[in-house]
Subunit: 252 residues, 2 copies
């Protein structure tokens, strides 16, 4: 699917930017680079910014016009940071990315970026069926070309991945967590940390702390291990430590 996405740079100026775009493309699984009128791909700067994406740079194709560069594309999406005539239908990349990902399942799709200084012209935008504007701070809305490409490619890549898993952890079963609190209670009473009259008071704070982020099974094991060690120390460990101290051995 991503191999059906073509990035089209129209009249790019900085060859470093072309290299940076190539790198971002490869990072997000896109390989088809087209350059319309200008821009050097073989410069040292372009190659060094491309880093491990020199293959993308090398296979870039050149076209005399945007029309030719997108001739075989089923969907052509332009990018602009300005509002104004022909641009009022622009939408944020997150809204359009799923449509691009879906269209690219079946046919070539182009993502078109204008020159660094003025962006796509109205003439260029004629060839674009949809327009993306990346939301930015109004005080400095103009993104660097390669950074704009990065955001758009990232959005398409994420849309292509489909739903991203929600919570990253697998919470342990409630019963396991209860056993942890049982253990905590006896251990912390033993060392005099909990008030025997109301041990639940402080335990409640721990329930809150652990409950907030959740505990995985592994976490429960680690915590039970800690309270077992406290039990051991309370029964036997202090003797070992006391003996060592008597012998003048520095413990730890």
């Amino acid at each position: 699917m991503l191999l059906n996405i073509r990035v089209v740079l129209v009249r790019p100026k900085g060859s470093g930017n072309i290299g940076s775009v190539a790198r971002a493309m490869k990072n997000f699984g896109v390989r088809d680079l087209a350059i319309v009128a200008g821009g050097r791909t073989e410069s040292f700067l372009a190659r060094s910014m491309a880093s491990h994406a020199r293959d993308v740079l090398k296979s870039a194709r050149r076209f005399a016009s945007l029309r030719e560069a997108v001739a075989d594309c089923a969907l052509v999406v332009g990018t602009t940071c300005r509002g104004g005539l022909y641009r009022e239908h622009s939408r944020p990349p997150r809204d359009i990315a799923p449509a691009i990902a879906a269209a690219a399942e079946k046919a070539k799709c182009a993502l078109v970026f204008g020159p660094e200084d003025h962006g796509l012209s109205n003439e260029d935008l004629k060839h674009c069926q949809q327009i993306i504007t990346i939301p930015t701070d109004s005080e400095y809305p103009s993104l660097n070309l390669a950074q704009a490409a990065t955001v758009c490619l990232y959005e398409i890549f994420v849309a292509a991945l489909g739903d991203i898993a929600g919570e990253a952890i697998e919470r342990a079963a409630a019963e396991d967590v209860e056993r942890l609190f049982d253990k905590m209670k006896t251990s912390l009473l033993e060392i005099g940390y909990l008030d025997p009259q109301n041990p639940e008071h402080i335990l409640f704070a721990f329930r809150r702390i652990f409950g907030r982020g959740g505990l995985e099974e592994k976490d429960v094991r680690i915590l039970i291990g800690l309270f077992r060690q406290i039990d051991w120390y309370a029964k036997e460990g202090w003797k070992v430590a006391a003996e060592k101290k008597q012998r003048g051995v520095k413990v730890r």
Copy 2:
């Protein structure tokens, strides 16, 4: 809110990248740039890549260590493109961005990026409560530093635009949490719970558990209280307990 976001670059190499990060920051309304150990902000390349964000570059602050750079931050989020030990809990920026935006409503939050070649070290990641990994193509997962920053800042900006489900807690400052871990380490070494050869290994699990849900100041006090009690028990408490046991008094 966005003014509470700090971008921290750890040992950055290319001054052009620093300039590009400054530009992306200003594009997304973020101004607070911190640089840990190295990287030039006053070079021609840095200023030219920053474009209209030279003010961000100029006001960047330098720190000797990551710990100092994030000392006043309530939420510290690291970035990594590698999997592996200590990194398996990383999540995509889209999942974490709302929590960052919500936390930044109340306190300073840091977004931490490692050096271009190797990224954040395990030692650096110790200071990060959450870890972001930007989803990329497995064939070339390593994003350019400034492009990675662009994606993360973009996600936070978009999250800030949308409805923010407020995080329920006010996180304690990173330095307070570091003091908690310092205390934990000495106490848990004393009772033999941590491996003296590699105490950080298990502590890392605790960092993850506490970092996931966050700790408020009150929580930090409760936890420090627990480890102080362990210290007291290790020094004096066992004597009291042993004496009582000898006298046949049931402890607890």
